[in-house]
Assembly symmetry: C2
Homo-oligomer: 213 residues x 2
C-alpha cells in the first residue's frame, strides 16, 4: 500500500519549521541554514549537489531515507519559490536550477494553476486542490509508489490535520528561532495517532519518527 | 564557584513547559501528567514519594542529578500553589504536604511577601525580588552551594533572559500541548550562549543539557 511520508523536516525547539522573512536571497528566512545544517553535512546532501564526501553517521541514516520508494512529491508553493499571488515571473523554475534533485513528478499546491513545467528528470504540476484531492492527483502521476510531502510548514501541517501522513520524520534542532512558521499549531494531541521513536545525533539534533498506529 | 542549575524541566514539542488551566485539581493544567510521566517512572521520583523501585536507565540518570550539590531552590509562586494575588488561604503549605521533598531553604518569588513557612526539613521564604536579587538572597541562605531554579515556566524564562543560568536540563517530551505557558518566548538565539548535549531515552523523551560557554 502506498504510504505518505515526510522526511528531514526540521523544527526548532520553539516549533518553527521555517524562519520569518523568506525572500529570494533568504529561502529559509532569518533561520538561514540553521535548521538544515545537520542535513547539509550529510553524504546524501553532498550527492544531491553532485559532490563527493559528507557524513555517514546518524544524520545520514535519516537523510538517506528521503528517496527510496518515493515516486512523487507534493510541495507547497512557498517551497517552490518566494513569489506570492498570480505568477508574474515565468522564468522562475524553482530554487534548484535546470536539474532539480527530485527526479520524479512534483505537485505544487497553488491557488494559481498554470501549465506544467518540465525540467531534466522532474516535471512540476501546478494544482489548486485540498490535501486529499492533491494526494489523489499525485498517486495518479505515480501509481503504487510512496508519496513524499516535501513541505513547507503549512503543507505538512495541512496533511497532518487531514490525518493523511503515515510516516513523519522530524528533526528537532536545538535552536530557538523566535519567529517564523509554526509546525504544531492546531495539532494538539497529534502524537496520539502515532508511535514515536526518538534518536539523538552527535550533531545535537534529535530525530523523531512518527509512524501511524 | 556556586552554579545556578535547572533540572528535569519538561517541555512539549511546541515549547510549552506547563499546560493551560492550572488549578487545585490540576496542578499541571490540561497537560495533566503528560509532561512528567518520564520522571514519575524513575527511582528518584519513587524515593521522593517514600516508595521503592522505579526505572534506573537514561531518565533516572538525569532525574537523579536534581539534588546533589544543591543547597537552596528558587521557585515561582505558581509552583508553590494555584492562588493568585494577595494570600487568602494561610493554611496552604504548598502541593507537597508536611514534608516537602526539597530539604533545603526555598525562595518563593511573589509580589505578596509574607512570613517564612517552616516545615519538616524545608523552609519557604517569600520574596518580592527580580532574578538577580533573588539569587543573592538564595545564596545568602546557603553559601557555597549550587542554586536550583525550580520553575515554573516564567521563573526559568526570567532567569534565562537575565543570563543567570549555568546548567539547564530540558526534557523534550514528544507531545503537542497546544496551549499553556511557552518556555522559549523572548529567548531567540539563547542557544548561542551554551554548549548543548543531546541524549535520547527509550521513553521517547530527549534530554538536552545546556552548559554555559
Amino acid at each position: 500500500m502506498s504510504k505518505v511520508r515526510v522526511h528531514n523536516f526540521a523544527v526548532s525547539l520553539d516549533g518553527y519549521g521555517a524562519g520569518a522573512d523568506q525572500s529570494m536571497e533568504q529561502p529559509f528566512g532569518h533561520a538561514d541554514g540553521r535548521l538544515m545544517s545537520w542535513f547539509m553535512g550529510t553524504r546524501s546532501f553532498h550527492a544531491m549537489q553532485g559532490q563527493e564526501g559528507g557524513s555517514t553517521g546518524v544524520d545520514e541514516s535519516f537523510a538517506s531515507a528521503w528517496g527510496p520508494g518515493i515516486g512523487v512529491e507534493i510541495m507547497g508553493r512557498n517551497k517552490f519559490g518566494p513569489q506570492r499571488g498570480p505568477w508574474t515571473d515565468d522564468d522562475w523554475i524553482g530554487w534548484w536550477g535546470d536539474e532539480p534533485p527530485f527526479h520524479t513528478p512534483v505537485v505544487v499546491l497553488t491557488h494559481h494553476p498554470r501549465e506544467p513545467l518540465a525540467l531534466e528528470g522532474t516535471t512540476f504540476h501546478f494544482v489548486d486542490a485540498a490535501p486529499r484531492e492533491a494526494l489523489a492527483e499525485a498517486r495518479a502521476l505515480a501509481p503504487d509508489t510512496d508519496v513524499r510531502i516535501g513541505g513547507g510548514v503549512e503543507t505538512v501541517r495541512e496533511f497532518l490535520e487531514a490525518d493523511l501522513i503515515d510516516h513523519l520524520h522530524v528533526a528537532v534542532v536545538p535552536i530557538v528561532l523566535g519567529r517564523g512558521e509554526q509546525l504544531w499549531t492546531g495539532l494538539e494531541r497529534v502524537e496520539e495517532r502515532f508511535d514515536i521513536e526518538t534518536t539523538a545525533s552527535p550533531s545535537g539534533v534529535t530525530h523523531l519518527v512518527f509512524t501511524r498506529k
